[in-house]
């Protein structure tokens, strides 16, 4: 897990931490069921307060991304594929809306967009 906290970012520290862990889980960098560093180890490495890492883990657990087993540690949530898929679908939706907005602004038609999408699917063999 490669967490880098930016000092110059406007995003609150615990938020940065959460986002990066979430990303790592969604992208598969952290596998389902993999043991995450303890809140103390994470705090030591990123030079962040342990209260912050704890808060990040607590919120990630509430959101279903990790599961904490008392005495053992925190694990990337296994079997929460529904949740992950939903999160990913949401991402797709967001990106499509972005593409739509940019396209419309320069006058791209629905047909053109469909064609671009067809090409994409063909090129990548799916």
């Amino acid at each position: 897990m490669n967490i880098i906290i930016s000092n110059s970012s406007d995003i609150p520290i615990y938020q940065q931490l959460k986002n990066q862990i979430k990303e790592a889980i969604l992208s598969g960098e952290i596998r389902d069921g993999e043991l995450l560093p303890s809140i103390r180890n994470l705090a030591n490495e990123t030079r962040v307060s342990v209260l912050t890492t704890r808060r990040a883990y607590d919120e990630l657990e509430a959101e279903g991304f990790i599961k904490t087993v008392h005495g053992k540690g925190s694990f990337a949530a296994s079997g929460n594929l529904e949740l992950l898929k939903e999160a990913r679908l949401k991402q797709v939706e967001e990106k499509l809306i972005e593409a739509y907005n940019i396209g419309r602004a320069i006058g791209v038609s629905k047909e053109d967009m469909r064609t671009m999408m067809d090409i994409l699917f063909e090129e990548n063999g799916r």
């Binding site: 000092n7 110059s8 406007d10 609150p12 520290i13 615990y14 303890s38 103390r40 180890n41 705090a43 030591n44 030079r47 962040v48 307060s49 342990v50 209260l51 912050t52």
Partner: protein, 285 residues
């Protein structure tokens, strides 16, 4: 929530009119590294001495590991590791003799652990305490403090006067200590850069009162160094600043309402402050 240290309403007067502590309330959870900052004379050392029984407070209650200090003094002291700025070690004794005094006092003295630290720190036990440099004295004090399975490490200015290399080694040792579950560290310091790197919680004392007691990251997220053109200051937004310096055509200040300043003073430049920036700003009030 288990608190390693709870201080309620601590007051101390040294002579008529000289109230050094004016009602201190501090809570430190287990597993936390808490840093205690403030000017000289703010009351940090007096607070620490009150915790250890070296100073008798006029009022207030102290609980360590959830137990009343007064009633469980010996048992509690057995679980505390102490490091003082001056060491307070017997100058004319050899290190090995100084160790004897410690080993006999603590029920859980661990000779193997002690020997490991002595070896890692390159200390020669046959030397006398007074022959050690300041840095080595601190390391020796640490070796003693960390060799009896203490759960709470209390330190008063442990790194003052030490060069950056030794301070880095000190921080590494603390990081290693705190990895075990249930260990807590509480130390006072002037060297805020050390706290930037290692503290979880920051407590600032000024003139005997607690000015703030916060999670380090929240503290830094809430505050910002703000710079900008003097013309954007108004009577309203001046109130958002803890400290404000107005110059010829520009201003510079520290706000404790970073989000607000970011949203409503868009022409100003906001930067992340260091703990020192924050401390200096509050001291000036």
């Amino acid at each position: 929530m288990d608190y390693a240290l709870e201080i309620k309403g601590l007051e101390k007067c040294y002579s008529k009119g000289n109230k050094v502590l004016k009602g201190i309330d501090i809570k430190i959870e287990e597993g936390i590294v808490a840093g205690f900052i403030g000017m000289n004379g703010a009351g940090k050392t007096t607070t620490i001495k009150s915790i250890l029984g070296l100073v008798v407070p006029n009022a207030g209650e102290i609980k360590i590991f959830g137990k009343s200090f007064k009633e469980n003094e010996k048992e509690i002291k057995n679980r505390i590791g102490i490091v003082f700025d001056n060491g307070y070690l017997y100058e004319d004794l050899k290190l090995s003799e100084m160790k004897q005094i410690f080993a006999a006092a603590y029920t859980k003295w661990d000779e193997d652990n002690y020997k490991k630290y002595i070896k890692n720190f390159n200390l020669n036990e046959k030397q006398k305490v007074k022959e050690l440099s300041k840095g080595m004295k601190m390391k020796f004090s640490l070796a003693l403090a960390l060799s009896h399975h203490a759960d709470l490490l209390i330190m008063d200015e442990p790194t003052s006067g030490l060069d950056p290399k030794i301070r880095k080694e000190f921080l590494d040792i603390i990081r290693e200590f705190i990895i075990d579950v249930g260990k807590t560290v509480f130390f006072s310091t002037h060297i805020t850069t050390d706290l930037d790197k290692i503290a979880d919680q920051i407590i600032m004392l000024n003139a005997g009162e607690v000015i703030f007691n916060k999670d380090k990251d929240i503290l830094i997220d809430e505050h910002a160094l703000v710079k900008g053109d003097k013309t954007i200051l108004t009577n309203d937004n001046r109130k958002w600043f803890v400290a404000l310096e107005e110059r010829g055509f520009s201003f510079e200040g520290l706000t404790n309402q970073r989000e607000r300043v970011r949203q409503e003073m868009k022409q100003a430049l906001c930067e992340r402050p260091t703990i020192e920036d924050i401390m200096v700003a509050y001291m000036g009030r």
